[in-house]
């Protein structure tokens, strides 16, 4: 496979409807599916890090593992690359190969660590070329591959820099280049953007999403940031307390959450119940996202008082309080002029059902 060729994924057709036609992705020749069968992890002191779990990452797919800290997502990632040994009875397959007992150094997995773990005693080029050096690739080929990789992450000019001369964003890209230089069958990223400041994270998230689509490599990303998971993952696996809560496309998770945990974790979810709700909407519990609320002059339906108004540039956020004390949040366009203390009518904007668009 030639990682440096961007056009590859455009050439052949995809099965199933891609989420974004312009970024359609097909597995490259070497992309492998990862299959976890009854994978569990118990620490020596007896605590369960991971309940037995089945999970399949399709070839060429990017799967985001999303969850709060301590939910077992990093443990799962470390089991896939072999740095953590799964409990007896667990099984991990890469394609048709059982790798459960294969050592990390023989798995051919590219890993980007949370703190990047770049080698301080080597230059940027030395870091990127290290995996190739281990594999006995000759110096000339190595130099060529390293400059290809650095071109891919747009760091050609910094090849001879020391690691401590790089900014956080540059380090992240060096770590990525080092991980993909070995042409891994599987790429794993552990919180790849967490160490960066918010503005840079926004930019690198877009860059990383584009790069992963270009590479067409099977990829697992661990993150606790729902926006990052939704942007980078073709599918997102939401985890909580060592369990898989739900697996699906970002749209499915957002619109048809399988549990209150999933609903809460992917953005704000409002819940209203009681007599007024039953009277106006004919249901016991009304659940909705803040952007699905429409505010009108009071009189027609459910009524609330505006407690607070936050102007956020592209939109305005209102904190609302019903007469019986229940609270909810509403997002309105930036031109909404309601002020705190005013009474408004609440109605819901109907939203289309989620599109099940599994890639590949």
């Amino acid at each position: 496979m030639n990682i440096a060729t961007p056009a590859r994924s455009m050439a052949s057709g995809t099965t199933g409807a891609p989420r974004h036609p312009s970024t359609a992705k097909t597995p490259t020749a070497t992309a492998l599916a990862i299959r976890l069968t009854r994978c569990a992890k118990t620490w020596p002191d007896g605590t369960r890090a991971l309940e037995p779990l089945d999970l399949e990452v399709q070839a060429g797919e990017t799967l985001a593992l999303l969850g709060p800290s301590g939910c077992g997502k990093t443990t799962l990632l470390r089991m896939i690359c072999g740095l953590e040994q799964a409990d007896d009875g667990s099984r991990i397959d890469f394609g048709d190969t059982d790798v459960t007992r294969v050592a990390p150094e023989a798995r051919g997995v590219g890993v980007v660590f949370q703190g990047y773990a770049l080698f301080p005693n080597m230059s940027v080029a030395g870091n990127v070329g290290y995996g190739l050096k281990i594999r006995g690739v000759d110096a000339a080929t190595r130099r060529r591959r390293v400059s290809e990789m650095l071109a891919l992450v747009e760091l050609e000019a910094l090849a001879e820099r020391r690691i401590d001369q790089l900014s956080g964003g540059q380090r992240q890209r060096v770590a990525l280049a080092r991980a993909i230089a070995i042409e891994p069958r599987v790429l794993l990223l552990d919180e790849p953007l967490t160490a960066l400041d918010a503005r840079l994270r926004q930019q690198l998230r877009v860059d990383l999403a584009a790069l992963l689509r270009r590479l067409g490599i099977t990829c697992v990303i661990v993150t606790h940031d729902q926006e990052e998971a939704m942007m980078l993952g073709d599918r997102v696996a939401v985890m909580s307390a060592g369990r898989l809560e739900q697996l699906g496309t970002p749209e499915t998770l957002y619109r048809q959450p399988a549990s209150p945990f999933v609903a809460d974790f992917l953005g704000t979810l409002c819940r209203l119940q009681g007599e007024a709700v039953r009277h106006h909407h004919g249901v016991d519990t009304l659940t909705f996202r803040p952007h699905e609320v429409r505010l009108d002059a009071p009189g027609s339906g459910l009524e609330a008082r505006i407690e607070a108004r936050f102007f956020l540039g592209s939109h305005v956020r209102f904190e609302l309080r019903l007469d019986d004390g229940q609270r909810c949040t509403a997002l309105a366009t930036a031109s909404a002029g309601w002020q705190p203390g005013e009474r408004v009518g609440i109605s819901l904007i109907p939203t289309p059902p989620a599109q099940e668009t599994l890639p590949c």
Partner: protein
């Protein structure tokens, strides 16, 4: 961009300049006593010592320095000291590194505290006690000799030769070195090793490529400390009463037995210079090795 002039302003203002001056003056009360101590207890005695070495000993025709560098007796003593110290330093590092790695990587195992206490126990021992320990183990009445005679009928006595000195030096160098290296191993980021592992590096390769470079400054520092300590070691050698001359013993002999103060002074200066020269060379070598990769 808006913040730049605001941040620059206090520095150019009068208050800022006064603060900067005060900052510069603030260390004077500390610097003056430090400089006084340095001059009184280091510079003056050292100058006196160096001056003494230039004197001509009684019944001789040339300065003590000239004698020290021309007479084979002193040369042998210097060569013995450097060889013994270098050998002991390298052996100490070679033994201490795996031990420190093991202890740093296994923070919990039964008996770890006891083992640590035992390993660090000889730290406080004076050279005399270390010498005595060597005699107990490898002397004429020692454990080794008893065992050897029982098994082979031949006596094995190491205590009073080069081997005995070597063992004695290890006794007092190892505890210090293990402490320093353990801290250094604990300071290595585990993710570096894990990253190397996922890139395909097997244990030996990870040790050479990642661990050793990360430990190089600690190894250099520990090695320098070992070497300098060994060069000046006196009590152990004195207790063992070996026929092998090392410089500290030679200096002691010149000073107390022959009252040859100029030669004792000249030898002290030579001991200092030789230690410095070897450490300088080792540092330069380590530095080049680090840059070479």
């Amino acid at each position: 961009m808006m913040a730049a002039p605001h941040r620059a302003a206090p520095l150019t203002s009068r208050g800022g300049r006064r603060a900067a001056l005060a900052g510069r003056r603030a260390w004077l009360p500390i610097a003056i006593p430090a400089a006084t101590l340095f001059i009184a207890f280091w510079l003056l005695p050292m100058a006196k010592l160096a001056g003494l070495g230039a004197a001509t000993p009684q019944g001789m025709e040339s300065s003590a320095y000239w004698l020290v560098v021309t007479q084979p007796r002193y040369w042998h003593s210097l060569a013995n000291t450097v060889a013994l110290s270098l050998g002991a330093t390298l052996a100490t590092l070679a033994i201490a590194l795996p031990v420190s790695r093991f202890l740093a990587r296994h923070p919990h195992f039964p008996g770890r505290r006891a083992l640590m206490a035992l390993l660090l126990f000889p730290l406080a021992f004076p050279g005399v006690v270390v010498g005595f320990l060597v005699i107990l183990t490898t002397g004429r009445q020692g454990v080794l000799n008893t065992l050897s005679r029982a098994l082979t009928g031949e006596p094995t006595v190491l205590a009073y030769g080069m081997a005995g000195l070597f063992i004695g030096y290890l006794y007092f160098l190892l505890p210090r070195t293990i402490g320093v290296l353990m801290a250094a191993v604990e300071g290595i980021d585990k993710q570096w090793l894990e990253a190397a592992q996922t890139l395909g590096a097997r244990p030996w390769r990870r040790f050479i490529d990642i661990e050793l470079p990360a430990l190089s400054s600690a190894l250099t520092a520990a090695g320098a400390m070992c070497f300098a300590t060994a060069m000046g070691a006196f009590g152990t050698v004195f207790t063992l009463g070996t026929r092998i001359d090392v410089l500290p013993i030679t200096i002691y002999d010149e000073f107390t037995h022959y009252a040859n103060i100029p030669v004792a002074a000249a030898l002290s200066v030579v001991l200092g210079l030789a230690t410095w020269a070897v450490l300088y060379a080792a540092n330069a070598f380590a530095g080049r090795a680090a840059h070479g990769r």
